[in-house]
């Protein structure tokens, strides 16, 4: 296995790590949406994680694609705006590897880019609109760069995570133009966008899962 390769358990670890981190961050994410949105994002995260549990009830998925697809269906069962967008995002992320396979870093980077594209296709948000796209776009750029420059998976994904977190923090200075938060206008200033924060946790889970032992995702910067 080269530095660029991801280990066999990657898919399972991405999903289980992310699940734990989202469940932990749900109250804080909900709080952000309450302050600068319509307040339902925490519930939406919880519903997604409940759906995920149901998806996994029938037995563990066989491969990376199966694991991430379960996450996709979990979010597609949420409704609202973030549900279908995250659902489509994970659907493209799942395509990083074929059946029975594990993605390599380049494929993962391209899948993340495809995920960004699909979110933007359906959500029609540009960078700077104060959405999950704001965290996703710099992560994609950072991952592509790092992967292109030969960094190993953990480091490349670490760079992507850092870019995502920084950008998510930066959304506090943006005025929303998409989603429910756009109705509250400038009064959201100083409050980070919850979808962007959640997206940074996703990238963090990819980084953590790339380490053989899964590791942890820090969410204490959210609130």
């Amino acid at each position: 296995m080269t530095d660029h390769a991801l280990h066999d358990d990657f898919g399972r670890l991405v999903v289980t790590t992310l699940r734990e981190s989202l469940e932990g961050a749900a109250p804080a994410l909900g709080d952000l949406d309450r302050r600068a949105g319509d307040g339902d994002f925490g519930d939406n995260v919880r519903v997604a994680m409940k759906n995920l549990g149901r998806e996994l009830e029938g037995g563990e998925p066989a491969d990376y694609r199966g694991w991430v697809t379960a996450m996709s269906r979990a979010w597609l069962g949420v409704g609202g705006t973030s549900g279908p967008l995250f659902g489509m995002f994970y659907r493209d992320l799942a395509r990083a590897a074929g059946d029975g396979e594990v993605p390599d870093l380049a494929a993962l980077a391209e899948a993340l880019a495809a995920g960004q594209a699909v979110v933007q296709k359906y959500g029609e948000a540009e960078v700077g609109d104060r959405t999950m796209v704001d965290a996703l776009a710099p992560a994609v750029t950072a991952l592509r760069e790092a992967a292109g420059s030969g960094a190993d998976a953990v480091h490349a994904l670490g760079a992507a995570e850092k870019a995502a977190i920084d950008a998510a923090k930066g959304t506090a200075e943006l005025t929303a133009r998409r989603g429910r938060a756009s109705y509250v206008g400038d009064s959201a200033k100083g409050v980070m966008d919850p979808g962007a924060c959640a997206m940074a946790l996703v990238v963090g889970a990819l980084r953590a899962a790339a380490g053989a032992d899964g590791g942890e995702v820090r969410a204490d910067w959210i609130g």
């Binding site: 759906n51 269906r73 597609l76 069962g77 949420v78 409704g79 609202g80 705006t81 549900g83 279908p84 967008l85 659902g87 489509m88 659907r91 359906y122 959500g123």
Partner: protein
């Protein structure tokens, strides 16, 4: 205050769907997990038709499932879109190998979840076409920016004509095409004297003064842009009819399909007065009410108000409207 006949408000929709399907055991079946209602005897050999949206608009959409109209209706929570996954499963259930037309009222959440479900259903090799219903004249913005006109009572027309076209054996593109044609030519105006009240809430969604009428309401309890003075049944009808006639610019001799639609808390005597004025006014304008429907078909909980939908009829639309239909809320 209005109290509701409800158990746990969070369980209202699944419980109501259960009761609805129990009341039509021979005709309907329920997918409780994905909250959709389908024909007990699924149709084969024709284009499938799925519609749906938030609840609180009954009999829309589940009341229109049956031969001649929908194959599947999928329900979100009150005034909230169904999820993409629900729509996906509903779309798959509507398919018998000839593709599925999705009829979607134009609201951001509905459009997003239906579009995405349509995209994903391709994974399961279901071909889909979306027909967007956007008949609400009150939300027509000159510049065409923003989310566009909302979808309201013309949904019944679109579901009916698409249903008939599918039953006739028309293909996916043709069924979608006639639905789009109907949607494009129908316009609706609505007004409310009292807003609806969410199950579990005690107060209506907005309050009006005794002399005020909310003109241009939608079906989700949104406030409208204009508040006008309260007046007689004839006067209220004119408030709806005048902008519709101006917008549609129908030539004398045109035959229209009209829907006089109660928004939930309007009783039949009231709707009949509106229908009466409509007939008089159109007659005076040299127009004919070729077909009409008077009743509460697309509601907003118990909103006390009325909407008026007009669509010019041509031979094809008349034939499809007249075609047999057998659903809980519409049968002929």
């Amino acid at each position: 205050m209005r109290r509701s006949i409800v158990n746990d408000p969070d369980q209202l929709v699944p419980e109501a769907l259960e009761g609805f399907v129990l009341s039509h055991p021979a005709r309907l079946a329920l997918d409780a997990e994905h909250r959709f209602v389908r024909r007990a005897e699924p149709a084969t050999g024709k284009v499938g038709l799925v519609s749906g949206g938030g609840s609180g608009h009954e009999p829309l959409h589940a009341g229109f499932v049956g031969p001649g109209m929908l194959d599947v209706a999928v329900a979100g929570a009150v005034f909230a879109s169904p999820t993409a996954l629900q729509v996906l499963e509903a779309t798959k259930a509507a398919d018998s190998g000839h593709g599925v037309v999705q009829i979607v009222k134009n609201y951001t959440g509905d459009v997003l979840n239906f579009r995405i479900a349509g995209e994903i259903s391709g994974d399961d090799q279901v071909e889909t076409e979306i027909v967007l219903v956007d008949d609400d004249l009150a939300t027509d913005t000159a510049d065409g920016g923003g989310p566009g006109r909302r979808g309201t009572a013309a949904t019944v027309i679109v579901e009916k004509v698409c249903g008939a076209a599918a039953e006739e054996g028309q293909d996916l593109a043709a069924v979608a095409e006639v639905g789009r044609r109907a949607a494009a030519s129908a316009r609706t105006m609505s007004l409310a004297l009292t807003a609806g009240t969410h199950p579990g809430d005690e107060e209506p969604q907005f309050a009006l003064g005794d002399d005020e009428v909310e003109l241009g309401v939608g079906i989700h309890g949104e406030r409208a842009a204009r508040r006008v003075p309260f007046t007689s049944a004839d006067g209220l009808t004119d408030l709806l009819l005048d902008p519709l006639l101006e917008e549609l610019g129908l030539e004398r001799g045109t035959e229209v399909l009209a829907i006089v639609n109660g928004l939930g808390g309007t009783y039949p005597l009231e709707l009949n007065l509106v229908a009466r004025r409509l007939h008089h006014r159109l007659g005076d304008a040299g127009l004919a009410v070729g077909r009409s429907l008077v009743g509460s078909y697309v509601t907003s909980l118990d909103m006390h108000g009325v909407s008026l939908t007009l669509m010019p009829l041509d031979e094809e639309l008349r034939r499809l409207w007249d075609a047999p239909v057998q659903t809980p809320a519409l049968t002929w």
